[in-house]
Symmetry: C2
Subunit: 452 residues, 2 copies
């Protein structure tokens, strides 16, 4: 039994690794790696610059190499896989216990290499793998394992107990056996705790829980995750046309939840959740350049909207000075609404029936904040530029922009979702364009109309 | 056995509920609620405006009311709890199976009500609850349950099997029994699968896994979640001074992971993860106003930095028009770096040993993108305003601002973390202030120096 305080541990491991690398002592590195579990090794690798990663990864024990590769982010993994021989990769895949993990690793290989590796694997392994490979990676079928333990409904518990003892160790995360008929049709789940506590002469059919929900093989992984969360599941049967074809376990679902969460955070900044924090400069810059390019077009749009009022601007410097305030307040207010709605969509709280109610609430919130802050801004503007008219103009522009921002914050994610675009990815950039343009046009337009 | 496509289901339930509410038929509502599990009911409630929520919640079956309350976001829960009598609340708490859930619900009550409710609960329940309540909510102790099943090391499996059968049903999510000595000192875990498959005359001490890591009661819940993820755990023992005091199960850990993820997404927009999407307008607006106020101060700072160059501005309208581009590009580039570093910190990939490497990489990425985009912007500026000098000035300002943005994106989260402030919460607003000010000063400063 050991107690741990992981946070400090990782930094300690990293410092130890750095030292071992600097003293160029492979033995020291190997010793360090042996103390760590695959997830910890993966974290260490991702915290290293890429050239060092390759030399450290050569020193990883082959029996855990597959697991380490799986724990890495996609980009870091691709880089480590690039120079390996098909034999090495096949060994890494065979070192993995679960067939869904084997499939994940195999699918991350380039297409040509994948075929070579499949060829090297022995026939039995290949057949099991191909069962999982036939489903898209992001569905229940792609998440599942084929290691389920099945029993018949008409036998007694006694028989099950003898069968299990003969069979030996159960697959990891087995909390229930699956009851099937002779055609492999799924009938229900038999929890291990019931196997251990019920009378030995009871029939499986009477003990099993027929309410256990079977997951269709084509259910998207996001919905599988929601099911596991809502029902506190450890494992669940996967069926196709009523036939039991595999099972999904909570450890794989936790990965889906984590990935989904990272996707939201990262894509709001125009990054991919697989972005490798220690990737080299050129590919990192290239990927991020696209987002900056999109932003630039929208920024020019904003500039163009300022340009419409050149003659007004020419006259009043104060306007140019105060202009960014209107845009920036709209951007913040809009992104608050946007974030809330995106989260609501992801959690299934927002739909057609309540969208209108939500929109009117958010508009009122925007109006409310617009009025409050326009007072503050107007007072500061009047004190700063000694001009009541400018105070009035900026106050009005602020109310208009916060109102528009709320409207956009609700409408953008709903519209994007309807046309099949991920709101977390595209929402922010569209929103800030709208708040910039509305902000500038409202402010400068009012100024042109009202200031002399 | 039923198959499900949850996404559409929720919207269907919501439409059915709306219809039942409009026809003012409580029976119809009750029937609908009975078909749903607590998580689904909670989702439905959160998707309703608050006045309707109260009337629907009155119709929820008392046996699941506790679970529904727990599944709600904090703000929605507080609102529903507000008007309930202590007796009703005590009944809701007693309807919960796990003591950690009971503690969570109790802790969400106002202090005075909590004491009244505790008083109503019977002595035995109160004692169990108080064991959990003595630990902070966000530690292993606050997450744990006290329903672990323990066995002694010196008995045979035979005895364990008889004990279990006598005991009846095991607590939910029991994948292992815990082995303790006579002083309740934790010795190891005995997986159920081993209980089912090993020889019945083997000794528990020989079968148990002594490698099972016990979690100290004061470990923060974030680190508990990482341990479960890294080691694919279903349950883990919680110890204090080596004594077994409870166990944590994966279902509670999944909630921690989800909350942590929501916290990042929401706090980057200055919202709390407990923000209720259907809260009434006034409290919603009040809470969000604070963030807008902070942004306003920083926006004024940005305006002030523009104001420094009033005389330059007065002369060249083009500058005012192009100005937002420099700031906005810096903001986007900086927030990409910021998001990446915040995620890296959360995953433990970034620490003292590799911060410098990371900083230099990000600076190069910033420089790289700065150079690329400055060309594009310069060309557009020259074509637009027919002025080579303005093109040169905006290009230089853009390179400077993207460089500064990268530096700030790495430095801000590291510094905030060091001084104990959550980078996800405060990072964005500090970053955009820096990119606005540096952008405006670089652009207008260069223009003042170089243009004529």
């Amino acid at each position: 039994m050991t107690e741990i305080a992981e946070e400090q541990q990782i930094e300690k491991h990293r410092a130890a690794l750095q030292e071992a690398l600097e003293s160029e002592s492979p033995v020291q590195v190997t010793d360090l790696l042996e103390e760590l579990n695959p997830a910890e090794i993966a974290d260490l690798l991702e915290g290293l610059p890429q050239p060092q990663r390759v030399s450290v990864s050569d020193l990883i024990d082959p029996s855990v190499k597959g697991e380490v590769l799986l724990e890495l982010g996609e980009e870091a993994r691709d880089h480590l896989i690039a120079d390996r021989s098909p034999e090495e990769l096949a060994a890494a895949i065979e070192s993995l216990e679960d067939v869904d993990d084997q499939a994940d690793l195999l699918l991350s290989l380039p297409r040509a290499v994948m075929a070579q590796v499949l060829h090297i694997l022995d026939l039995h392994k290949r057949e099991r793998l191909e069962a999982v490979l036939s489903y898209p990676e992001d569905t229940a079928g792609g998440l599942m394992n084929t290691d389920q333990v099945t029993v018949r409904a008409d036998v007694t518990l006694d028989v099950v107990l003898r069968y299990l003892r003969m069979r030996g160790e159960l697959p990891e995360h087995t909390d229930q056996l699956f009851v099937v008929d002779r055609h492999e049709r799924f009938l229900g789940g038999l929890p291990l705790s019931r196997v251990l506590t019920a009378e030995v002469d009871s029939r499986v059919g009477d003990l099993m829980n027929p309410e256990v929900q079977a997951i269709p093989a084509d259910l998207p992984d996001r919905e599988v995750a929601r099911l596991f969360e809502d029902r506190d599941l450890i494992s669940a049967p996967v069926v196709e046309d009523g036939m039991l074809i595999g099972r999904i376990t909570i450890d794989d679902v936790v990965d889906v939840i984590r990935e989904e969460a990272e996707h939201s955070v990262m894509s709001m900044a125009g990054l991919s959740e697989d972005e490798d924090i220690f990737a080299p400069v050129v590919p990192s810059a290239r990927r991020r350049a696209i987002w900056l390019g999109v932003n630039l077009m929208t920024a020019f749009l904003a500039s163009w909207s300022i340009g419409l009022f050149e003659s007004t601007l020419d006259k009043i410097v104060a306007l140019a000075v105060l202009m960014p305030i209107v845009a920036s307040m709209g951007g913040i207010a809009g992104s608050q609404t946007l974030t809330l709605v995106i989260r609501g969509l992801a959690l299934g709280q927002v739909g057609a029936t309540n969208a209108r109610w939500l929109a009117s609430k958010e508009l009122l919130v925007g109006l409310f904040n617009g009025v409050i802050w326009s007072f503050v801004v107007a007072i500061v503007a009047v004190l700063w530029f000694k001009d009541y008219e400018i105070g009035g103009v900026i106050a009005a522009a602020l109310v208009i922009n916060l109102f528009a921002a709320s409207l956009a914050g609700v409408a953008i994610p709903l519209i994007l979702r309807r046309i099949g675009i991920d709101p977390a990815l595209a929402g922010t950039v569209i929103l800030t364009t709208i708040t910039d343009v509305v902000g500038f046009v409202a402010f400068l337009g009012l100024a042109t109309l009202l200031l002399r």
